[in-house]
């Protein structure tokens, strides 16, 4: 495939934002009929490169050539008209409109200016059949799962005789089966000659799908490699720019002595806690210094458990005791008062306030727990913020940049810092590493180990089993909104066994009855 001419060439691309140099002299090529992975840490410039390509941002320097012509799109519409379509990480569809309309809006078939609805539906069905998707095209898009919405977005993207299809982290909210379905479609489109630019943080997916890899780091190009010639470890090194032994370091730390911890006083004990329609009653004890992992598939009730622990949802049955003192958690304020912190899964909607600066976002929870009448002195703020920017290596290391200008991984670190500043005794982390790169992931994992060594209890939720097993002393397994097992993370526990538990729902050790 590399013997043909590239369908897309980007040369010498530079782009700056106030206070941040996002891209510097980056080259990128894309050939027809290939899947090309764009790799890099958070903040490496992947998203910026895509937005520059599709005309969301203008470029400061450099040229873009599509086919034989030099192009400079003024927006996504023009780009997609020229055959460059994008499907973003967060599905960008209109939830109130029907599936069919979401596929065709902006280019509906018309007669005398009137939209031909019959034709719209017919062609939508046809297009979705090509993707092997059999759904009611007249139903609002919001009534389908994220995975289906993702497919609808792809259907929209390929309808315009796309030559280049950009998939920006399409898999980050899909479960394994849905990912496989997406890959099948990607292979099919690739074989039809479409060039696919694929951004993801899952290395397995890169090696499963991509023909070539381009690596960016800190806004500059590291290189372009055929996937077969770049071993996984070498890729990670190129992304991070240093030898990666952090992960191995953590491995040694794990599987620590649970008995010693369980001898101590429990920090939080819940018994038969449940909420109708959210999660079946469960009992769980977390000790100081203990990391409890919560494993399970998407939608198995992991987040619901976390929300009950934080009082974000009110339990309708069961009992809670914090530090030996009984009493329900009625709302997050009570939870914060008792030393519980919660990093939500949905950092954009429920955590980060994009228009506030890094400093303001960080001190938010601490200020809230002090009450608004006792402002934190500016000097103290600066100290704290500087400390955590350094500790979590947040980039750019400038406390006065609005958080919206930071990459996803760095936003996540700011959110972590917000809770760490309050020095909680139990920190609930809901998917803290989702959608962030290997380097940041390793840093966050290392941090969890450090925190628990320092005596903090952690409830760690992640879709990645490896990660849960690496960090946790105890793994609670969720299945169909029920806690089906609690496994002590000793030598007998591995990913296979947890997987089996999820699949079979057996080994009910502490589940009800």
């Amino acid at each position: 495939m590399t013997d043909s001419r590239p369908v897309l060439t980007m040369t010498g691309i530079s782009k700056s934002f106030p206070g941040v140099r996002a891209l510097h002299n980056v080259d990128f090529r894309l050939f027809p009929g290939e899947v090309h992975a764009l790799m890099g840490e958070n903040g490496a410039g992947k998203s910026t490169l895509i937005k520059v390509l599709t005309g969301v941002y203008g470029i400061d320097e450099g040229t873009i050539t599509l086919g034989e012509e030099q192009v400079a799109f003024n927006g996504p519409m023009q780009a997609s008209a020229a055959g460059v379509s994008t499907v973003y990480q967060e599905v960008n569809l209109c939830p109130n409109l029907s599936v069919a309309e979401n596929i065709f809006i902006g280019r509906e078939p018309r007669r005398f200016g009137a939209v031909r609805w019959g034709e719209v539906r017919r062609r939508a069905r046809q297009l979705l059949a090509r993707l092997d998707l059999d759904i009611d095209v007249t139903a609002p898009v919001a009534s389908y799962s994220l995975a289906v919405q993702q497919m609808v977005a792809i259907a929209r993207a390929i309808d315009v005789q796309a030559r280049v299809l950009i998939l920006d982290e399409p898999t980050s909210s899909l479960d394994a089966g849905e990912v496989e379905q997406l890959f099948r479609i990607m292979r099919q489109l690739r074989d039809e000659g479409i060039a696919i630019l694929f951004v993801t943080h899952f290395l397995d997916q890169v090696y499963g799908m991509a023909d070539r890899i381009t690596v960016l780091r800190n806004g500059t190009l590291v290189g372009e490699y055929p996937t077969a010639e770049l071993p996984q470890l070498a890729l990670v090194e190129k992304m991070i720019g240093k030898e990666l032994d952090v992960l191995e370091g953590i491995e040694e730390h794990s599987r620590r002595d649970l008995a010693a911890l369980e001898g101590g006083t429990p920090f939080m004990e819940v018994s038969q806690l449940g909420r109708k329609g959210a999660v079946a009653p469960f009992s769980l004890t977390i000790h100081a210094g203990e990391v409890v992992g919560l494993a399970g598939l998407l939608g198995s009730g992991r987040t619901e458990v976390a929300r009950l622990f934080f009082g974000a949802d009110r339990a309708d049955r069961g009992e809670v005791a914090v530090s030996g003192k009984p009493g329900g958690l009625r709302n997050p304020v009570q939870a914060i008062e008792r030393g519980i912190g919660f990093c939500s899964e949905n950092r954009r909607a429920e955590g980060i306030i994009p228009d506030l600066t890094v400093r303001e976002n960080m001190i938010l929870a601490m200020q809230a727990s002090r009450g608004w009448l006792r402002p934190i002195p500016r000097r103290r703020q600066d100290e704290l913020v500087e400390q955590y920017i350094k500790a979590l290596s947040i980039r750019p290391a400038n406390p006065d940049v609005p958080v919206r200008n930071l990459s996803g991984g760095n936003q996540q670190k700011v959110l972590l810092a917000r809770w760490l500043i309050t020095e909680p005794r139990l920190l609930i982390l809901d998917e803290p590493t989702r959608g962030i790169d290997v380097g940041a992931k390793a840093e966050i994992q290392k941090l969890v180990v450090q925190l628990s060594d320092g005596g903090m209890a952690v409830l760690f939720i992640s879709a990645e089993l490896e990660e849960v097993l690496r960090l946790s002393h105890k793994v609670a397994v969720m299945r169909d909104r029920e806690m089906v097992a609690q496994l002590n993370n000793d030598d007998t526990v591995n990913a296979d066994r947890v997987m089996q538990t999820i699949a079979s729902g057996s080994q009910r050790e502490e589940a009800d009855k």
Partner: protein, 329 residues
């Protein structure tokens, strides 16, 4: 792999959800009409319904414009003042001796122009629609009193004809020309919203403006267009009002924007945008009209009871919308 079916939930539970608010409004209207018919013998006369349209034709037209704005998730507080200003300018220009046709054209241009400017301010400077249209409201109201602080009567032949001409059946039931104009506006608006790209873009922006932008829809043009359309509808409403009252008064239609918003919301359009129908707005206006009629028929009740009932209904409806969960965001 074979064909995959990933539907969620039974189809009966999903499909009608969009229509539920409109159906509830329709049921409410029928119940109120039923009460009227059972309590007062004269209520069953068809002319009662015609009168509701005659008395509220201008409100209906303005509510149609407001529906466009609210569907995008915006709001237009200037409509009442623009109605008054249009009537005022018409009366003033007619008094000064300009021919009716010229007056009509000028009067119909003022509203959309103001709407266009407000739309530009809202879109390009990223300002809150509430505050921009509040400014527009004060401006237009101020212009009314600038023209004259007293009411100006209209004696022009065309205006009096439009005011007094009755289209009726042999039994004496009739509607005014204004009602036909209002119907025409409703039909055109319903067509635009369901069958044109402009209309569909309005829904898309109300659903998720960020997505609409990334899907490459002309967000700027559409947003400015809805405020222009609302301005045009207010201008038409102002003309209809001047047909109805045969005068231009600086303090007429004060607070009308709130009645209009109430009618649109009771008609099932969600204030956050993206969901609602013109047909619902027609029902919403009828609900307001029938309440007024019921209170007039009763005779013993103070007319302020209209406001109390509307307040209660509005509250019930927004609660209801929240409960059936029309919240896509």
């Amino acid at each position: 792999m074979t064909t995959t079916s990933l539907t969620t939930g039974p189809s009966w539970a999903r499909l009608p959800r969009r229509h539920v608010p409109v159906l509830v409004t329709l049921a409410l209207l029928l119940v109120m009409y039923g009460i009227g018919v059972s309590q007062y013998r004269a209520f069953s006369n068809i002319q009662v319904i015609f009168n509701v349209f005659i008395d509220n034709g201008f409100l209906l037209v303005v509510a149609v414009g407001m529906t466009f704005v609210i569907l995008t998730g915006g709001i237009d507080l200037s409509v009442g003042s623009v109605v008054a200003m249009t009537a005022m300018v018409s009366a003033w220009l007619l008094q000064s001796g300009l021919p009716a046709l010229v007056v009509l054209v000028i009067a119909l241009l003022i509203g959309p122009t103001l709407g266009f400017l407000m739309g530009c301010a809202i879109h390009f400077f990223d300002l809150q629609p509430f505050i921009v249209t509040l400014a527009g409201m004060f401006f237009a109201r101020g212009m009314c009193t600038f023209i004259s602080d007293a009411s100006i009567p209209i004696t022009d032949g065309f205006w009096t004809t439009m005011s007094q001409y009755r289209i009726g059946d042999p039994r004496g039931n009739f509607v005014s020309i204004s009602v036909l104009i209002a119907f025409a506006v409703v039909l055109v608006a319903a067509y635009v919203l369901s069958y044109t790209r402009l209309g569909r873009n309005v829904y898309a922006i109300g659903g998720n403006p960020q997505s609409a932008l990334l899907m490459g829809l002309p967000v700027a043009r559409t947003r400015i267009a809805v405020y222009t359309i609302s301005g045009l509808c207010s201008a038409i409403g102002g003309i209809l009002l001047s047909f109805y009252t045969l005068s231009g008064a600086p303090l007429i239609a004060v607070g009308m924007e709130l009645d209009v918003i109430a009618a649109v919301v009771i008609g099932g359009t969600v204030l956050t945008g993206g969901s609602g129908y013109i047909f619902g707005t027609v029902l919403g206006v009828l609900v307001l009209g029938v309440i007024q009629t019921l209170i007039t028929f009763d005779g013993s009740l103070n007319s302020w009871w209209t406001k109390i009932v509307i307040g209660g209904l509005l509250f019930a409806f927004i609660l209801f919308q929240r409960l059936i969960g029309i919240r896509y965001k």
